[in-house]
Amino acid sequence: MKYAASLFAGLVLGAVMFVLGLYLNPFMGQATVSPLAVTDRQVMDLSYSAVPANGILYTDHGESAVTPHPDRVAELWEPTVVDTSVFVTELFDGRGNFAGIGIKYLSKSEQTELIKGEALASSVWHIFLPGRGTIMIDQTENFWSYIRDVVIPARTSSGDNWVGSFHSVTTSGPGALGTARLTGGSGVFAGLTSESVEAITVRGYSSVTGPVSKDGNLTIELPEIAAATE
């Protein structure tokens, strides 16, 4: 019996050591600088508040920390969409002026491998920019750094919150350089294929209500034709 208890205690300790190793591994990090920072093409920045309550609409399965918004929005409780969220938000240009509307679908990815520091999601933006046109952005996002540095500290905090300064490029693919794939739909973007990168900046998070202060930024590389109309 003593040996069984000792083995069990060892197993528990081993499991805890593994989890701590995973959590504290300094080699699992994400870029804080966009791969498009060194591009010689023009780029367009679109920013938005990534706090769901500040957006136009947010919905998911309805049982997460984040409350769907507005109150009477349909929830995605069906088994096939239970791991998906939809976020509709206003987008702003670099000067802070209204630039358009963005719809973001975000689904957990089966490519997630926590042992590699990859908490992946497949996300798609469907964007309309008045006077310019429409685009779709397809990307794989890695939220490991966000979970490790913001969400978990908030949950383990006695106040159930986290306050600080966190910035990370969440886009990790499908482009070879960790960029998202952009397809133009209509207007000046018709026929366009390009690249994009999304980053988030978080200053406050509550484990009870979700993000308190969180901004998102989409950097879009523009070929000359689309850039000329900006």
């Binding site: 060892g10 300790l13 593994f18 096939t80 791991d83 739909g185």
Partner: protein, 190 residues
């Protein structure tokens, strides 16, 4: 006893590692694809949207008519006549398999457009540009501009139709039917 403890600890580390490596952290629910083979080339799949049940959002130029209640839609001053709709999407078995957005504008300064973005979480997304003018039969045809994941290498078309009379449910006001026809690149199998 200490040896047993150490062996347990090592096994704990290795076991946790093996568990993390082999057990998928995410396992998305899938429904059987209701695909039919087309006589000429490619495959077709039928999706539909039950109205009004599957409506998530309707953003109209006149914000007062937007859905759901309490939606703060930017409206005409910012978006012109652009209409945005968000739906849940069902397969032929009437099971929800994804979500979709439909953006439409008749007077945007860069040209009129109607677009669908069909997001099926376990399979990928289809981005479609529709023709502005519907056919005489009441259809509207569209061309797939891009696809992701399972749809990445495919090309094809989408046919949109609004069916106002749906017999199987008295609560339904209508149904939007989307017939997606996809073709794999030459030499590949779908």
């Amino acid at each position: 006893m200490i040896k047993t403890f150490v062996i347990g600890a090592v096994l704990g580390v290795l076991g946790s590692g093996a568990l993390t490596w082999y057990v998928p952290a995410v396992d998305l629910q899938r429904e059987r694809s209701m695909i039919s083979v087309r006589p000429n080339i490619g495959n077709a799949e039928l999706f539909h949207i039950n109205l009004p049940h599957d409506r998530i959002l309707v953003g109209l130029p006149n914000n007062e008519n937007s859905i759901p209640a309490g939606l703060k839609w930017p409206g005409e001053d910012y978006l012109g006549d652009m209409q945005t709709e968000l739906f849940k999407v069902r397969d032929e078995n009437n099971v929800v398999v994804g979500v979709a957005s439909r953006l439409a504008s008749a007077t945007n300064s860069t040209g009129a457009f109607i677009e669908w973005s069909l997001h099926l979480p376990a399979r990928g997304t289809i981005y479609v540009e529709m023709e502005i003018t519907p056919s005489a039969d009441g259809f509207r045809n569209g061309e797939m501009l891009a696809g992701t994941q399972d749809f990445l290498t495919l090309s094809g078309s989408v046919r949109e139709q609004f069916i106002s009379e749906v017999s199987d449910d008295a609560d339904l006001q209508g149904r939007i039917q989307l017939e997606v026809a996809l073709v794999a690149p030459l030499g590949d199998e779908l």
